[in-house]
């Protein structure tokens, strides 16, 4: 026996490989393949992934990546960081930090140095916590996809809730630790000074407004009001109009080559004529063409590379998330591995307990960017109340066990614990109010 243990300790890699092999074999051997629930669950996961590919990828995700890429490149970080520096007045820093998460967090490994920098060398704990929370919570892609998949109401509730949370939690943390904050001394303000502005503000605003407009109208869904339906009839015309305006802007302000843009417009129009009734085709060609043209222009190359980075980072994980959500929970109206009764029992109403359960689960579970959307969708379809859904959306992306461990190394165990408790409490509270009064 001792000989075996020593053997294992000397060859941990081989030992673990053997254990993993035996473990996987046992799982596969004992899989209840004839059980209808299991067979159905696999089908559900494939169907859900297929549905996502058809409904959401081209019209919603692609433009979201392009917009996020543009934000990373054209919104001057310096102009925002200025308000988060050591000299900035605390209320201003708090306010800016609460919304800036959407603008500043580019890659998840970048959030931590920024957070630590704001905490240790910048405006302090309050602003740093507000930034830490708002980054994953008001991530522009997450809000867009939430609104598309879960409905505008939940999307707006999430965005507003996140900003309010960031402000309140940041302020409370600052108040709790104010004595410590008063003692900090100013060190270098490296990274908090403004850069020179490259593009005129109005051009940048126009670019983003047009892109957001295209995103919104391309995804306009039918609903009950008459005005809504009128817009729905005209959505593609409006989207195309905005697209043409975008082309004009790119020629006028960004000095993109006219023949190439004309060629792109021609391709898009041609595809719409040749294959009528499938708006995804010209739309996809338009978006891809836009990025290719950006890639070819030396000045705007980075826009394309940033968008591509986002796509590479997020698509595989989102795909996995959708697959798992389908397997466990099935499409809305269908069941996966987890019976609806269990979901209903745990979080099925808008009661305080359900909302609390959802908050705590969300806080500990790890959600990579955007994967919270298919999971919440599955849960809603299985009977979760909308109050717990909002609580999950507000507590989930911002916190997870691995994330808590890393934050601990920067601000210490006590502050991390208080942060987590505040998030769970507020998520429960907000979810409860949303579920019962809206």
């Amino acid at each position: 026996m001792n000989r075996l243990v020593t053997l294992y300790k000397e060859n941990p890699h081989q030992g673990n490989l053997l254990l993993a092999l035996i473990g996987s074999f046992l799982v596969i051997y004992f899989l209840p393949v004839d059980s209808p629930r299991l067979g159905n669950a696999w089908l559900e996961s494939i169907k859900l992934t297929n549905w996502y590919a058809r409904e959401h990828v081209i019209l919603c995700l692609l433009p979201a990546f392009v917009i996020a890429g543009a934000m990373a490149v054209y919104i001057s970080q310096g102009s925002v960081m200025r308000y988060l520096g050591p000299q900035a007045p605390k209320p201003v820093a708090l306010g800016v930090a609460s919304v800036s998460g959407a603008l500043l967090a580019v890659c998840s490994c970048t959030v931590l140095p920024l957070f630590g920098g704001i905490y240790k060398r910048g405006a302090g704990l309050g602003a740093a916590i507000a930034f830490l929370y708002s980054g994953p919570a008001i991530n522009v892609m997450a809000v867009v996809v939430t609104a598309k998949v879960l409905g505008a109401e939940l999307g707006i509730a999430r965005a507003l809730g996140a900003i309010v949370f960031a402000l309140v939690i940041g302020a409370i943390m600052h108040l709790i630790f104010r004595r410590e904050e008063a003692e900090r001394s100013a060190t270098s303000d490296r990274g908090f000074t403004a850069d020179e502005q490259e593009k005129s503000l109005s051009a940048t605003v126009a670019l983003f407004s047009l892109m957001v407009g295209i995103l919104v109208f391309a995804n306009w869904a039918p609903a009950n009001s008459a005005t809504w339906m009128v817009i729905y009839e005209w959505k593609w015309l409006i989207t195309s109009g905005l697209g043409l305006l975008l082309v004009v802007l790119l020629v006028g302000y960004w000095q993109w080559s006219i023949p190439r843009l004309v060629a792109l417009v021609a391709v898009v129009v041609l595809s719409a004529i040749l294959v009528p009734g499938v708006p995804q085709l010209p739309f996809a060609l338009g978006v891809l063409g836009l990025m290719l043209l950006a890639l070819m222009s030396t000045r705007d190359q980075e826009w394309a590379t940033q968008s591509w980075d986002f796509a590479k980072q997020i698509m595989p994980l989102l795909l996995a998330g959708v697959f798992i959500a389908g397997l466990l929970l099935g499409r809305p109206g269908h069941q996966g591995l987890i019976p609806d009764e269990w979901v209903n029992a745990a979080v099925g109403d808008n009661s305080f307990v359900s909302t609390l359960v959802a908050s705590v689960l969300g806080a500990f579970m790890y959600f990579s960017t955007l994967t919270e959307v298919p999971i919440v969708e599955g849960l809603l379809g299985a009977g979760m109340g909308k109050g717990p859904a909002l609580a999950l959306l507000l507590a989930g992306p911002a916190l997870s066990l691995p994330n808590m461990l890393v934050i601990r190394t920067i601000i210490g165990g006590k502050k991390t614990a208080i942060y987590c408790v505040l998030v769970v409490v507020m998520a429960t509270f907000t979810g409860f109010i949303y579920g019962n009064f809206f």
Binding site: C107, C109, G117
Partner: protein
């Protein structure tokens, strides 16, 4: 030349390290590489966007991966 690469170990940081090494080799410069992956170390150095490249005490690149050509231009 002393290269210090700041980053928590994601693929971007590795790419920056590789590019910096290639650039130094292409120019025939002697170099040693130090990697700082601990978040607190990165913060105390004043860096807020990883990956970052510091050469002989000066932070040349912050927040992105530059190509071998760009780094060569900065070093040579």
């Amino acid at each position: 030349m002393k290269f210090v690469i700041y980053g928590s170990g994601c693929s971007k940081c590795n790419l920056l390290t590789a590019n910096a090494k290639s650039a130094a080799e292409a120019l025939g410069l002697d170099y040693e590489v130090e990697k700082v992956t601990d978040v607190n170390g990165i913060i105390s150095a004043g860096i807020m966007h990883t990956p970052a490249l510091e050469v002989d005490g000066k932070i040349l690149i912050e927040g992105k991966v530059s190509s071998v050509e760009t780094i060569k231009g900065m070093l040579g």
